[in-house]
Assembly symmetry: C2
Homo-oligomer: 451 residues x 2
């Protein structure tokens, strides 16, 4: 019996870990660039914390779910963990560097986070989050809540992935309203969690659960009427008036209403069209963490995806690490999941397998000319690739260009070499033009190709 | 005795894990963008593999050093590891997706890698590598070796971090020469490792070690003479002639010489000045992996940093995962370390604490105007921040602008609000100008500020 001495290890990624092929990666990176540019346009500055943190830092808050899903490991005597979001690292970062930062601290972070979830379609264990936050030292003006809104509105507009609507609410409204109904504090938290599930549950079921929990029917009816206020198709200003008319005698409610009035006033000032945002009193966000404004973002034509970008205002970012009060507001866009969903729906343009705008190909023995032209085009900042294997048949070189789906091919044949010209082929339209070699860059810079 | 119920967890990163403050991060990201743009200019396409791979994939090659330094952990029954470079993931990726890729496959990857080294100055356990590789299926033209050279030359030129020199060699030259001296195969590998250490050891010591190992003095002298050929200040073409004149009767040597002649011919065709590259016969790269061309890059004024960008040609990228022969050539730039070194030398411009070009500040009660102007500037793609806390004294707002080191401040006072103008202050020169509010964007787009 002989053993296979030369056996190979099967080249696969871990279950639940995904990666993209070049054409998908190019499309994904375009989205990343759009998001990054939009964040910077609004004055958010880059941050890049380690992917590994001390386990005690990431586990400070606890919670069974997050502990189960977090990758924790030991190296020597050190307990380490992979970050499961970008908010806990932000809290650690701001507390650690509090005296080196300029407040209000506006940062964005686009990075990978890790959750050991059951692998399932569209849920990767390693995925990108794109976060923006504004953190104040001691205090933070309510206008920051409107700025976050504006930045995320601009981002989705730039992403150009279809109609979207940003839903906004203020948790103080709901908490205050529930208090005014004489609901006890502990039950308020439970009720908010239940309201958070209303997108997956109909109102009848919700009513049934509350009644089972011993709520009296009048109180339930009042809550339902309140929650459904925002379902009617009315101007946001009308809704705000209606909320004021509820005469809820509760200071938290009144504060929430005032905050929502201010935030929506600024949103209008920013000129954001009414069709692309709405107040939704049923939006609460699952996390207890949020204390005021909350946001969720939906793609109008893909409601089944759920919220693709969510966040809100929090009173105290870093209570586990510092006594300093650090109020903030932020939002997080789950890019890997969004990309996956859009890709499944065939809404990602992934025709192109190259970031190059031009492929230079030459007939036999003219490679030096091809390299010369490529160098000139690159000097003019035109991303250029050269087909370098001279022995390949010309037909095969064009096949390669087609496979890459490069927008333009620059051809150097015998005539071109003799005349110091090049022939430029628009691979989308098939159009060909022979131009002076020195003017190739100029021609290409003007030439339009939808790819 | 009472316990501190409210004790805080100390907010610190793990030892050996580093992160940057905003001004440093902005400077770092500029370098990343430059590198990425340069890679794309040469037709390299993005790739982004998971940071975690199956342990057996990363450990396929073995080697005690890499095993000790690799972060390995278990989640459930699965042995996972954090990637320690970007080459092994490339090998896994290409073997896994071989039938979905277009060859020659040109990719870049800029990403974090992990090594559990002893923490020391300038050595982070998490650091960025920026890699480009060209991988062929079955074969890969020698011109790819010149393309990698050209891309990395352009990258360092764009990085603008001072004079640099790229050293190039071909391992076949040395291996062939050693064979022609009747050195046995096993000893050739050892000798190459010893030559690799010549930058930290003087020639006398090198000679001493070889003699201790039983080399006869004539052979040692011949090797030293050979290695020192490239130390003399001569044109590369002269050196190549001298190498040819050695009359080394060994096919590997002759192949290496021919490859080096071709690669340097193309380098000259690319118009790369002789002052910025050189053939150095003592460059071998430590890794056994390389089989032909090898590169190292040095900053002329900072020789103590050592090579900042190295790589070479390999015959077989993915032998542990596939029977397919995948020759390639690539290079890797260790960005975190380079940035650290330049930062230590005060060569990083980190004046600016914001990516915004403009900060808009307003006198009391004019915030709405400020937000309006900010929105207009952003529509014109000018990164803009607004000072949103109206209650802050004007003096403090200017202090904030100074701290941020934002290039321009747009001021809205009572006069400006009345006249629909804004006053634009160049924070570098102190120059101020009041312009029509509608023309602020135009003015700012033209205005130059070195920051």
């Amino acid at each position: 019996m002989t053993f296979e001495r030369n056996s190979k290890i099967k080249p696969v990624t871990l279950p639940g870990f995904t990666e993209l092929l070049p054409n998908e990666q190019i499309a994904f990176n375009k989205m990343v660039n759009t998001i990054q540019q939009s964040f910077e346009l609004f004055g958010f500055n880059p941050m890049d914390t380690p992917i590994i943190e001390k386990a005690e830092i990431l586990m400070a808050k606890g919670g069974e779910e997050s502990e189960k899903q977090t990758y924790v490991f030991k190296k020597g005597d050190t307990d380490m963990a992979l970050r499961f979001d970008l908010t806990v690292p932000l809290a650690r970062f701001v507390s650690e560097h509090i005296n080196e930062l300029i407040f209000p601290f506006k940062r964005y972070q686009i990075g990978k986070v890790y959750r050991g979830e059951k692998p399932q379609k569209g849920r990767s264990r390693e995925f990108y989050q794109c976060d923006i936050d504004i953190v104040g030292r001691g205090k933070l003006d309510i206008i920051s809540d409107a700025e976050i809104f504006q930045a995320i509105y601009h981002t989705f507009e730039q992403l150009n992935i279809g109609k979207f609507v940003i839903k906004i609410n203020n948790r103080k409204l709901l908490s205050g309203f529930l208090t005014s109904l004489n609901i006890e504090d502990a039950e308020i938290a439970n009720t908010l969690h239940l309201i958070d599930k209303l997108d997956k549950m109909d109102m009848d079921k919700f009513v049934g659960i509350l009644k089972e929990q011993g709520w009296d029917p009048t109180t339930v009816a009042r809550l339902v009427t309140f929650l459904e206020l925002s379902d009617a198709n009315m101007a946001q200003s009308t809704l705000l008036s209606k909320l004021a008319e509820q005469n809820v005698i509760n200071p938290l409610f009144q504060q929430g209403l005032s905050e929502l009035q201010q935030v929506t006033k600024y949103i209008n000032d920013f000129g954001i069209p009414q069709s692309e945002w709405k107040i939704d009193l049923k939006i609460v966000r699952g996390l207890d963490y949020y204390t005021g404004t909350v946001y969720e973002t939906f793609l109008v034509d893909q409601p089944q995806i759920g919220s693709v970008c969510s966040g809100g205002r929090y009173d105290n970012l870093a209570e586990y690490y510092t006594d300093q009060k650090l109020p903030g507001v932020g939002i997080s866009l789950g890019l890997t999941r969004l990309f996956y969903q859009l890709n499944e729906l065939n809404l990602i343009d992934k025709k192109s397998h190259t970031t190059a705008k031009v492929l230079v190909i030459s007939m036999e023995n003219l490679l030096s000319k091809a390299l010369q032209i490529a160098t000139e085009l690159r000097t003019q900042n035109i991303p250029t690739e050269v087909y370098t294997d001279e022995t390949t048949a010309f037909r095969k070189k064009l096949e390669y260009a087609n496979k890459l789906a490069v927008p333009f091919v620059v051809i150097i044949g015998e005539n071109e070499a003799r005349d110091n010209t090049v022939t430029i082929k628009n691979m989308e339209t098939g159009e060909q033009k022979t131009v002076d070699g020195k003017r190739a860059g100029e021609y290409l810079q003007k030439a339009q190709n939808p790819r």
